[in-house]
């Protein structure tokens, strides 16, 4: 395997409110290889977005990256730990938009409302690529063409409120791709769009990725999207990655009870009327009041009484490369685990 593009280890992003601390991201480990699509999945509030924002160091205050490393292999060959940079400093700014770019969830509000699409894109190009205004304009037209914006020259002069949701998201993607980043972070880019537009945007991201050879970190809670685009998958629960595996292993050989619960709760074709959909019991715990031991144990159907509520599982690497945080899979537990638990 080649050198990874991004290596995150033990990343913690905490929000100190008054005397208490919300641990939004609490020890995440993740690797993104060049050209690869990694999907980050999990329920609302599990820390996916904050984890993505931590990479670019744009966590809103009072949030702070408090521990861990985010090693980015820069184009120059240099390795930088983004977690150690000053979030307002010049170095992180030279990475934002240039090497790591981000697409946001809300195309309605993620673009400046009183500037034209063109001015926002050319501003970014001129900031990073040091080209003339005219050249920046040409590149902006080119990137708008690339994201499938009809009549790109005219759209350059359009304001975001003049575009439909799908077109805005294309403009947003064009902005993110304007400086040819090597890593694109997409934070639920299709959630706010209707299903047809969703499919178009997904295809677009996939095509552009193949064309430009960039890596994509795709954040979503939609497992259908995951099946369609992911190379590998990381499942997050309460600020931690609980399972990380190749996409086929996730769908066919999920190890963590939480992942299996998520998969069971997908509505299937052929479900009978009146038949209930499987759900994961209970609610995501209040982040102020995190359960002891494994934070998933109160909702886990395979909970081992007396162990899961006391011992915090560590990261276990299985022979096929899957990494999982679960006592069922820790080596000294494996032989005594209940027979049904490993299927």
């Amino acid at each position: 395997m080649t050198q990874p593009l991004l290596e995150i280890s033990g990343l913690k992003t905490h929000f100190g409110v008054g005397g208490t601390t919300i641990r939004a991201v609490d020890g995440v480990d993740l690797v993104v290889n060049p050209g690869e699509t990694v999907c980050l999945v999990g329920e609302s509030g599990c820390g996916k977005s904050m984890m993505a924002r931590s990479i670019l160091r744009i966590v809103p205050p009072p949030g702070q990256v408090t521990a861990g490393q985010i090693n980015l292999h820069r184009q120059s060959g240099k390795v930088v730990d983004l977690a150690a940079l000053d979030p307002k400093g010049a170095e992180i700014r030279s990475i934002r938009g240039r090497e790591v770019a981000m697409i946001f969830q809300e195309p309605m509000t993620a673009l400046g409302p009183v500037q034209t699409i063109g001015s926002q894109i050319t501003d970014a190009i001129q900031l990073h690529l040091k080209v003339s205004r005219k050249e920046a304009r040409n590149q902006a037209i080119e990137v708008l063409t690339r994201v499938g914006m009809p009549r790109p020259e005219q759209r350059l002069e359009a304001y975001p409120f003049q575009l439909s949701g799908g077109m805005r998201q294309r403009a947003m993607i064009a902005l993110a791709l304007s400086c040819q980043p090597r890593l694109l972070i997409a934070d639920e880019p299709t959630t706010a769009l209707d299903v047809t537009t969703q499919a178009v945007i997904l295809d677009l991201i996939r095509d552009l990725q193949a064309e430009m050879g960039m890596a994509v970190l795709f954040i979503t809670h939609d497992l259908g999207v995951v099946a369609e685009i992911a190379d590998s998958v990381a499942v997050m629960y309460l600020g931690r990655v609980v399972e990380r595996a190749a996409v086929d292993d996730i769908f066919h050989n999920a190890r963590h009870p939480y992942t299996r619960g998520l998969l069971r709760s997908i509505p299937r074709l052929g479900i009978r009327v009146g038949e209930e959909l499987d759900t994961i019991e209970g609610m995501v715990p209040n982040p102020f009041n995190r359960p002891s031991g494994c934070s998933f144990h109160p909702r886990c159907v395979e909970m081992i009484p007396g162990r899961c509520d006391r011992v915090d599982p560590s990261r276990t690497r299985l022979p096929d490369g899957t990494e999982v945080r679960c006592l069922l899979h820790e080596p000294h537990r494996q032989e005594t685990a209940p027979a049904g638990a490993l299927q």
Binding site: R53, L56, I58, P60, K88, R93, S94, I95, R96, G97, R98, A101, M102, F104, Q105, E106, T109, A110, L111, G112, P113, V114, Q115, T116, D123, A124, L127, H128, Y159, F161, Q162, M172, L175, A176
Partner: protein, 328 residues
């Protein structure tokens, strides 16, 4: 944009026409007229008033005519000949009385408006981005004090300070030796030296209001996703702020011109009396008390014109600033 401006201009003319009718009617509302209050005044002083004299006066000023004829005489004079009529009390053309005061009133108002903007803009931005800092709280405190203390009181304090510590002549816009002198560089300098007190006094409340408006607007905008986008694209922090959220937060800031300008012209009456400023406010007040109707009516018409022009300017500025207004 041109069609927008034209449409606004037509609205403006219609509004002014309605205002002129309304202001004329309101002035006529109290019983009696200038002549009857003059006669009452003279009788009170024990003078004999000849009925023939009264009738002659009534004829001369057209006071016996029906209201709509009086209105027509007045408004047609203004529109067709620029003649605002004759002031009863001063026995001079209204236009010369008004122009005398309007120039300085406008100068002072515009200077105050720029003062308000220049102070409120940076402080407003500062107190939004450093929301809970000592400086922001200090700005809030000073702003609220400025808002809460009546202008005339601040005026008195400033008059005391300038007299006690700077040895300046107090009140008015000129030192005595320049009062009736013709315009020269020295007189302009003297004017500037006198202007700072009224500017600060008149501007304090407006500044405080605008600081709060700017702060609140910007706080709303600062957490919008597009600010995060700009930051995520690698723009330096000052560009992220000034180019994106501040641009949007400017809208209500600009739309305040509409009411700040006429507010300064008409609302400064008490301050103008205390500071003995040759502004329009005291004269309007006096003309209303004596039912000097052509003077009062013309004043009100001019103030309304200023209000409408202020609104027009702010509308045009807004449309220029915000494409969402321009295109819908």
């Amino acid at each position: 944009m041109l069609a927008f401006m034209l449409r606004r201009f037509i609205y403006m003319v219609v509004t002014l026409f309605l205002v002129s009718i309304l202001s004329f009617a309101i002035i006529q509302l109290p019983p009696g007229d200038y002549l009857s209050s003059m006669v009452a005044g003279m009788s009170a002083e024990g003078q004999q008033v000849d009925q023939q004299f009264i009738n002659a006066m009534r004829d001369r000023y057209g006071l016996g005519d029906p209201v709509y004829v009086q209105y027509w005489k007045w408004i047609s004079g203004i529109v067709l000949r620029g003649d605002f009529g004759q002031s009863f009390e001063w026995n001079r053309p209204v236009s010369s009385l008004i122009y005398e005061r309007m120039g300085l009133t406008l100068l002072l108002s515009v200077a105050t408006l720029f003062f308000i903007w220049a102070v409120a803009f940076p402080i407003g931005i500062y107190s939004a981005i450093r929301k809970n800092s000592f400086g922001a709280h200090l700005a809030t405190l000073v702003g609220f004090i400025g808002l809460a203390i009546p202008n005339f009181l601040i005026a008195l304090v400033f008059m005391y300070l300038s007299f006690r510590y700077f040895g300046q002549s107090v009140g008015g816009l000129f030192s005595p030796q320049y009062e009736n002198a013709s315009w020269s560089l020295a007189k302009v300098g003297d004017l500037i030296a006198h202007m700072w007190i009224p500017i600060i006094v008149l501007g304090t409340a407006g500044t405080a209001t605008l600081i709060r408006i700017m702060r609140a607007n910007l706080l709303d905008e600062l957490n919008k996703p597009y600010v995060t986008t700009a930051r995520a694209m690698g723009h330096p922090e000052h560009v992220v702020l000034l180019k994106y959220p501040v641009r949007v937060a400017l809208n209500p800031f600009v739309s305040t011109v509409g009411w700040v300008l006429p507010g300064l012209v008409s609302g400064a009456t008490i301050t103008a009396i205390v500071l003995n400023l040759p502004m329009s406010g005291p004269m309007l007040l006096r003309s209303l008390l004596t039912q000097d109707m052509y003077l009062a009516g013309s004043f009100i018409l001019l103030l309304s014109t200023l209000t409408v022009i202020g609104t027009l300017i702010s509308d045009i500025l807004l449309a220029w600033l915000d494409p969402r207004i321009r295109y819908s």
